[in-house]
């Protein structure tokens, strides 16, 4: 009797990479819903556009590279990239923003580096940064929350806005952004930054309409939803808790120190936590295994560094939000971090384990 020959171990955890990716995608749903609730259909449309583009691009490249197309195209990584990109784009950005961004992320950032597992940068964030640098106007035109808008922004309006630049009623994005009182609204982070340059203190900025009662109308809830999704992922063991925890904790430490030193120019920790892409970054982007550090020690360093960069850029940099930039910078450092945070192998003395780096 001849038997089937297999390699040990013979039993195997039931997890697979694509299942993992799918789980992460599901975990973004609360955040996306919150976005939809506070900002309308824009992001959903962008997610749809980005996903389609990403899949087409993936198919295209995979067929060029003669890989196993059906298996790889649905491994979830392209869709996840597209979703994350779509989530982070300004809701009313023109359609081609997400198309270019997704295509860039998949073709250049991921596949050109060798496909899944080989990309040094987080594709979504690399795409985002490329867009931000190439199309600063479109990429900084953030729509105010629906409740503050003077005009009705239903699905059709959003669609025409994204595809033609005008709502069906003929309003431009600029008009949409204008408050009933006649001033242009920005994101809370933007607002604070602008106000600081105008010489206003943080506490004065906090009275701005876009911030509302707490830390920013809509944004606080979106971040909270992403936080919930992240907790779900940790619960599911899909991501390691270390990275988000260290990231948020470091952000807290930095903001706290800053607040101690200069309360008038430093926003609160909660403001940082619940604005911009903070939670998205902490749970969905920094935890991307491919472009992150691998060992626990490395992840701690990686996350702390990211928090530091986010804080510095938000506080002193030229851009209001900084998650994308700091993620890319950390991605660059990841191999180095890995080198210097190799765990000590069992039975080897400490010095040797480190010295191998």
């Amino acid at each position: 009797m001849a038997f089937w020959i297999a390699i040990s171990p013979h039993n195997h955890i039931q997890k697979t990479t694509s299942a993992l990716m799918r789980l992460v995608i599901y975990a973004t749903i609360p955040g996306i819903l919150a976005q939809w609730y506070f900002f309308g259909w824009g992001n959903l449309i962008h997610i749809f556009l980005a996903t389609t583009t990403a899949l087409v691009a993936e198919f295209f490249v995979l067929s060029l590279r003669e890989k196993k197309i059906p298996q790889q195209i649905f491994d979830g990584s392209a869709v996840l990239t597209a979703v994350l990109l779509g989530v982070s784009l300004p809701a009313l950005a023109p359609w081609w923003i997400s198309v270019i961004g997704a295509a860039f992320a998949v073709v250049i950032v991921k596949q050109l580096y060798g496909g899944l597992g080989h990309n040094p940068f987080n594709p979504a964030m690399a795409g985002y940064v490329m867009l931000l640098i190439s199309f600063p106007v479109q990429m900084t035109s953030w729509q105010p929350p629906l409740e503050l808008m003077a005009h009705n922004l239903d699905f059709v309006n959003t669609l025409t806005m994204i595809f033609s630049g005008f709502t069906s009623e003929g309003f431009s994005l600029e008009q949409l952004k204008t408050h009933v009182d006649g001033y242009t609204m920005a994101t809370p982070l933007d607002t604070v930054k602008t106000n600081l340059t105008l010489g206003l203190t943080i506490s004065e900025s906090m009275n701005n309409t876009v911030i509302g009662d707490h830390f920013g109308i809509g944004w606080e809830w979106i971040n909270a939803a992403f936080f919930a999704g992240g907790i779900f992922l940790i619960y599911k063991k899909a991501i390691d808790w270390v990275t988000p925890f260290v990231f948020l904790f470091s952000l807290f430490v930095f903001t706290f120190i800053s607040f101690m030193l200069s309360p008038d120019t430093s926003s609160s920790t909660m403001f940082h936590w619940l604005n911009g892409a903070c939670m998205l970054g902490a749970f969905f982007i920094l935890t991307d295994p491919v472009s992150g550090a691998t060992s626990t020690k490395g992840r701690i360093v990686f996350a702390a560094l990211a928090a530091f960069l986010v804080f510095i850029i938000r506080q002193y940099g030229g851009y209001p939000d900084a998650v994308a930039f700091s993620v890319l910078l950390c991605n660059m450092c990841a191999p180095l971090i890995d080198q210097y945070t190799r765990p000590r192998t069992y039975g080897h003395s400490e010095s040797k384990g480190e010295g191998n780096a």
């Binding site: 040990s8 171990p9 039993n11 993992l20 899944l116 765990p343 192998t345 039975g347 080897h348």
Partner: protein, 950 residues
Amino acid sequence: MDSIIQRIDKGQFWKFHGGIHPPEQKFITADQPIRTLPLPNELILPLQQHIGQAGKVIVNIGDSVLKGQPLTHSDHPMAVPIHAPTSGKVTQIKPSVIAHPSGLEELCLFLEPDGEDKWCTRNICTDFTTLSNEQLIEKIANAGISGMGGAGFPTHIKVNNSAEIEYLIINAAECEPYITADDLLIREQSPTIIDGINILHKIVSPKVVLIGIEDNKPKAIQALKNATKNIEYIKVCVIPTKYPSGGEKQLIQILTGKEIPSGSLPSSQGVVMQNIATCYAIADAVINDVPLIKRVTTVTGLGLNKPQNVWALLGTPVGFLLKNCEYHTQDTKQVIMGGPMMGFSLPSDRVPVVKITNCILAPSEKEISTKDEEIECIRCGQCADVCPAQLLPQELQWSAKAKDHDQLNKLNLFDCIECGACAYVCPSHIPLVHYYRIGKSEIREQKQLELKAEKAKVRFEARKARLERDKKAREEKQRLASEARKARMNSGTTEANNEKSAVAAALARVKAKKQQTPTNDDNATEAKSSQANPQIAAAIARAKAKKLAAKKEAEQTEVSATKNIEETTTPDVESTPEATDKPKDKKAQVAAAVAKAKAKKLAAKKEAEQTEVSATKNIEETTTPDVESTPEATDKPKDKKAQVAAAIARAKAKKLAAKKEAEQTEVSATKNIEETTTPDVESTPEATDKPKDKKAQVAAAVAKAKAKKLAAKKEAETAKARESQSENIEETTTPEVKSTTEVTDKPKDKKALVAAAVAKAKAKKLAAKKEVEQAKTQESQPENAEETITPEVKSTTEVADKPKDKKALVAAAVAKAKAKKLAAKKEAEQAKAPEPVPESVKDIASSIDDNQTSVHVVESSVQKKENQSDIKNSSHSGNTIKSLDEEVEQKENVKEDDKKSKIAAAVAKARAKKKEEKSAPITIEEDKKNRIAAAVAKAKAKKQQRSELN
């Protein structure tokens, strides 16, 4: 230590890094008692079931063996025997598939049970405490016990440790899913196990014995606790279930918090670990004198209707176990030996249970999927999180795929215990362990290669240095010798002059006379040298010559004979140019004369060709030492001894010739002669400080005598040994060559010469042998021949350089002489081609003077060519002779000018016809004679070749 025990008492343990919790699946078999199976129809017992050495089989096919009877034995400490698991008959001993991941075949002993299950006699030992540690260890070793948990390390080695041991850890963790063998064994046999532990405790004498057991075996824990209630030094440590807590290093870490440094043994940290099943086997062996012949094996998996633990006799084929547990066939059959994490799938159900087989897993398809698609690593780091060795599996995997061995070493690949935890968790389903195994074996292989290369380099350098040394020594010796000789020759004593002229005259006569009267030549030479017993020698020589002449018939043999001669001359090639520079001395001439005489004899004898070859060999061997010893020893009575020696040599040669019937016999005989002569030869230089001459000769004589005896004996043996000889040529010759060169380092003068002679002789023998073999083993021979020849040729040339002076001359002379004889015979046959002799003879006379030097050069070059072509030839089989001749001829034609060759031809022919006439011009001058002889030789060689071509 104390704090550790306190912690243990409190039930606090350390943690090892990583680990996983695969589904345990132990429930499948945990609740049924261990079943005893009927005897299988056949037992397959691999000779080696442990790490280390296999023993030698001490039973024969067809033997009936009793249960418990040892089947192998070895004195190697790392070897443990195997025993007959039941009584029966040994049916075969042959390679068979064994329990190994690669489906390797190894030597197995097949036993057919007779069903009686009859024990051999046993000594039951009721109280092991009366035995000494040595006795206990011996019992353990003789019972064939090796680690039963996994690696199979011989137990007696592990416990026989001089290191101070603090902890004896008994591994009952059994962390692999599915397996319940130890669990059940503990439940059913805990008293015996405790006996085993006590025995180990006595041998190892640790401070404390820790039994590590995972908390998923409550019944076994209870059994152990009950059994150890009253034993203070045994502590049952219940550890949390986590794979791989049963790994040696992991369990040590859990229980003691100690890490075993990479590359060292646990005993270096005062820890010894034994598997709990081994403890049972030890108790059984020591107390009941039952060797390790059976073990508990978990036969499990949802592919079986009746999964359970069984007492399996070692050697039971897996198929038998499966049948007894009702394996229902499936499409994808997969049977795993060992657990699902570290076990390996079996290539066939003929694989037998061995000492380490704790589980046979026959999973259903649902249980263990056989189709996992590997995708790219996503660097999730989960593998690193679970790795108990704290490696970076993902980085290892990249480096292994890229074959970056340096990086693999840097990442401590060899600390991987292949537990499979990383591959278990990898979401990309990368078979990580597989890559590590490949990487490891590649690195091991590379290391082996490097080691080999290093050794070869060292050897090469040593050889180079030695050759350099030899060369220097040789040059120095040569310089001294030539100075001495010059001084003597120039002394102008009458003696010296006499010698010269006498020898010259002798030579002249030799040549003048033809084959009919070869003996006269010999006589002449000897007579001229005139000191002592010339008559005796002469008489002997003559007698022989006549006998020989009578024998001449077989012409065909000449062809091969020439070939032999050519081969035999090769070692001389290099020495000839140098040698010819000084043909002044007497000895050289004497030697020449001797050689010629021999050559004639040889020609005469030709029926058995190899016979000749070996004869000449012997002659050379015997003559050379004599000749050598003369210059040093015989400042006065030089001639005498030389002649005597020559005479003796000849006498022997003839005797040998007479004996020759079976040719191969000779060949091998000569080989033996050499072996036998070498010791003699060595002794001579030491002994002959004073009476050198005689002893040397005596020694030579003795050697020869032996040689003959051997030759006689060898006939019977060689018949058989011939095939093996041809294979062994290389092996046998190389040591000889080596020994000769070594010998030459010290008593350089004589031994070197002797060695040279020996070397030459060997070269010839080989040549002779080759012919013999060619006839038979034409296909197989070329390879061997090539290999065999090269060392010979090297050695001969090396050696030949050393004793240039005399031997070289002798050899040269011999060579020439032979060539002549052959030629002479040819002519006798060819006798048709008449040519204008007188003119050409005259031509010779005039041209010789001019062409002296060139003739020599040409001669040597011709010989060299022949030498080369011989070598080449011998490496090809079949019609070698023709191609050889063609080659030689072509080369000759290119280099030699027509004139010389014509002259030579003319001379040769002239001789063939009118022998008296020819001899006249030659007798005039010594120098000329030599040269003429050379020319003649060449010419004849050519002719011969031509005739052969035709």
